[in-house]
Symmetry: D2
Subunit: 305 residues, 4 copies
């Protein structure tokens, strides 16, 4: 039974994503869930060989790319992405038993969560003081420990600690979605499905036009870029690493050609995987077969072409 | 005397950046410093007309772009950037008077700061428990209030609260630099200096190649892009807003032509300003004068061209 | 009364084009027609100041660009094109009086004309021997002088020499059209009409991609290239001079910007003029006014943009 | 013994090119030379299966591409180019025995040749009348027949007819070179040598930017275009067919990828062959092996990439 790490403790959004991947049969059979103290720690467990995979968030429709995940994938031994799932992210307001919403004077929240429910708090708990917690789970624990009257947390954390649900589905932005991915040690990518995603990390020569030329490798070949994220390389202001997702699979000829071209011209390229997309996003790359058949005939010297 | 807002309380890195801008004569004479409870609140004070400007961080060589600042500049009434300054960012470890470094059992830190000194803490305070504070300043205040033995904070906060400096210049990454900018209500940009920066926000039609075409508007005209940041528009996974900095000034013909071209083709473009760069980064756009003189002669019908 | 040179003698296709330009009021009032012994000689008369303009063929829908005209425009003192007209080109088979078509044993033709009626001759005069003449007019004169029984020529030449029309509208390719232009010494281009043509000669650095970059100056700005002709520079195999026509006028901002950009980057650029097109071909360049107004407001510091 | 057609009669420049190809061992053993009445007729003999190949001129450093050859290759059943050779082209002035140069009153010339020696004739035979001949060989025959005193022709024609050489190496432009190619029915291209040429014919959708996109297929892949020729399709003014030569061989991966991409996007593409270049011109396409090895390892799931 493969062991899959996740940012715990039990009841986090990440565990919910792991459960969803299990239900989608992303794994071959049941898995053992291994909680880790942080997203980075979950990835480290994979690299240390202590688990066979890790589920980590990679992108939020509200906050954008999850920087620590991107950095962990770009640096250190190469890992690969094998599956993805999207999770609707909304918070549950948990209260100490016996406390009503209007009685809340101090509310615990992880800063990231606090930022995502700022408008809701201003409307419903305008007087409440904000207490900073170390995670969504820790916020619930801070309520249980008496540091706060209520927490911005998850329903699973509430169940675990026996807290009251004061409000559910709380989020300033409707339809906030977070994408989680399964990362593991490199092995051949899952078979091409026709609705796939490929992800790379790119570092480019510090020359005018180098980014445009890199993008041209995709555009010229009719490949649709669906995610473009820049992150500093930390080697000086203005030097970037690019995280690019495109529609297609390494077994699509167009994608393979673009990867090879970037391997030739980029300062550094790292392949992060090809895997089935959860939803059709963008246009698949053009098929290669008719052109390849024509080329093969040309090489044979077939006359009527 | 103009009032300039900053993320307070007194002694933050942002106030240090404001002081540096004052010393660089970015303002016309002395200014009144107005502390605000958050970066966003500082910007809101500008929009409310309660201050004439705000100093906010926009980019870190370690963490990348400061998302809340970018979002605040992209949305709401337009503001413009008029000056910039780069600040070396390193933390000061402040202790309760009488406590030595080896006696620290609990250390208070703002999560962003904790992430930037993780290796240092692991090396020097491997046993210490982490206490989450609401800001770098709040970490110092948490020490003063007895919640922790030491804080990851700034020297100014230590002076203000009478704490002991246990270590200085603490940062996992050497030469971490944060860029701060002065934002204010739109008015004509500062005069072109020949070493300028121009910044825009761009939203593009959801079509393959639209980003490459937008970049081509710069590359074709010999304009050097120095910052490319994507942020989700929050209207769905995979829709982005782009923050682009280029070398040059709106009064450089090449830059003006690129801006006009993007105004014609982009779904949305917002000009965030042209201002003197702190340091020469990249290649200035090509001069227009010789070609313009030739064109003028052509229009006049001069023969020998 | 301006003198306008043309490839004579009287009755050539070029004179017919000159007459058409007169009827279209391309000139200010009546002109004096000055026959010249060749197309190049007509252009030389302009450069020598002996005539005010010359009408020359520049492009054929069958044969492509007229190389001697292109070369004459690319080299020597700069001339400019001020007007154009398209002429349907079909030949008249002229016979010696009293000779029927089936009696023709020897037919005189200028080689260019012979090539354009090859199929017609094979079908109607399969037995006839071809006699080479120096021009379409000379072919008719060769019939008058008894060198041949019939000529591939023009109706005007037939009228002039009193020959019989054996067939009219003869051309292997239907709807063969030749474009003629009026060239004269440089002066300001005719006013922009909204349906204009601009023509340039371009020589490029011998670097991979230089042609693509030159074309990008047009494509990026939404300018439609309607003619692309390459001619050797005669300085070695594989070095070319490019003749480009685009939709638009030097007074269209997009066209002016593209010209300036090419002036900066090309090894050599020569402007051959902007003039009203005979027919709408291609898409006019995008208007500049809305973007220019926006840019002007940005420079003024207008807030709500 | 293969039969190879050429534009005869014996002694033309084309036969000289055929001889040079023989000496370069372009054929497998000796060939039978078959004269044809025109370049087009030589090609027609190949298509009719009456000869195994034809040698035809394709490009002149002075006159540019040889339009009839290009048209013959673009239309009709596909033929392929298998070899090339460059020939220095300079004319011989042949006189009737006993006639000195200063006695020449009438000089016979093929119009194409006359154009290439115009300056020489003006300097050396300013008074001579020009007599139009049907070919360089016919000019010599016209002298032998008494129609003219001298001919602009070739040395071989003079030998054949017993004419006197009045001048040799006559050409207005120094170092005029014509490239001749061997065309034959399609079969596999000659093996890649590393210094090869590939030639195609391209017709494009009538859309703005379509030519630039076609060129981008080469530029993006680092392929050097060495010849770009446009010819009207004869279906209307402003519709072109493009003849492109690039450095490289259909067995170079970059070239194969570009051909496939054009097959997908162009209205029509015809492959005219890959063959050894006479001289290194331009930069060979980038090698594929390192990138292909990397891609293969990625597909296998090799970790350390």
């Amino acid at each position: 039974m493969p062991r899959i790490a996740y940012f715990g403790p039990s009841g986090t959004f990440t565990e919910m994503a792991l459960a969803k991947l299990e239900s989608l049969e992303a794994f071959e059979g049941p898995v053992e869930r291994v909680p880790a103290p942080s997203q980075g720690a979950a990835i480290d467990l994979v690299r240390a060989g202590q688990v066979e995979g890790a589920v980590v968030p990679i992108e939020s429709s509200v906050e954008g790319s999850i920087a620590p995940t991107l950095d962990a994938l770009a640096l250190g031994p190469r890992l690969q992405i094998f599956a993805e799932t999207d999770l609707d992210v909304a918070f549950t307001i948990l209260g100490r038993p016996g406390v009503a919403l209007e009685q809340v004077r101090r509310i615990a929240a992880y800063p990231v969560a606090a930022a995502q429910v700022r408008l809701w708090l201003a409307a419903h708990l305008p007087q409440a003081e904000l207490y900073t917690s170390a995670s969504n789970a820790a916020a619930a624990e801070d309520v249980a420990a008496g540091h706060a009257d209520a927490a911005v947390s998850t329903s699973l954390a509430g169940q675990r600690l026996g807290l009251t649900t004061l409000a559910d589905g709380v989020a300033d932005v409707d339809q906030a979605v977070t994408r989680f991915v399964l990362v593991a040690a490199p092995r051949p990518a899952p078979a091409r499905t026709g609705s796939d995603r490929t992800s790379i990390v790119l570092e480019l020569a510090n020359e005018p036009g180098s980014l445009m030329r890199a993008f041209a490798e995709f555009a010229t070949r009719g490949i649709d870029l669906t995610r473009i994220e820049s992150r500093p390389t930390r080697t000086g202001m203005g030097t970037y690493r690019f995280y690019l997702d495109c529609v297609g699979h390494i077994d699509d000829t167009a994608v393979a050609e673009a990867l090879k071209a970037l391997h030739r011209t980029a300062a550094r390229i790292r392949f992060l995987g090809s895997w089935p997309a959860t939803a059709a996003t963008g246009t698949p790359p053009p098929p290669d077969a008719p052109a390849a058949a024509w080329l093969a005939d040309l090489k044979k010297g077939v006359a009527d072409l």
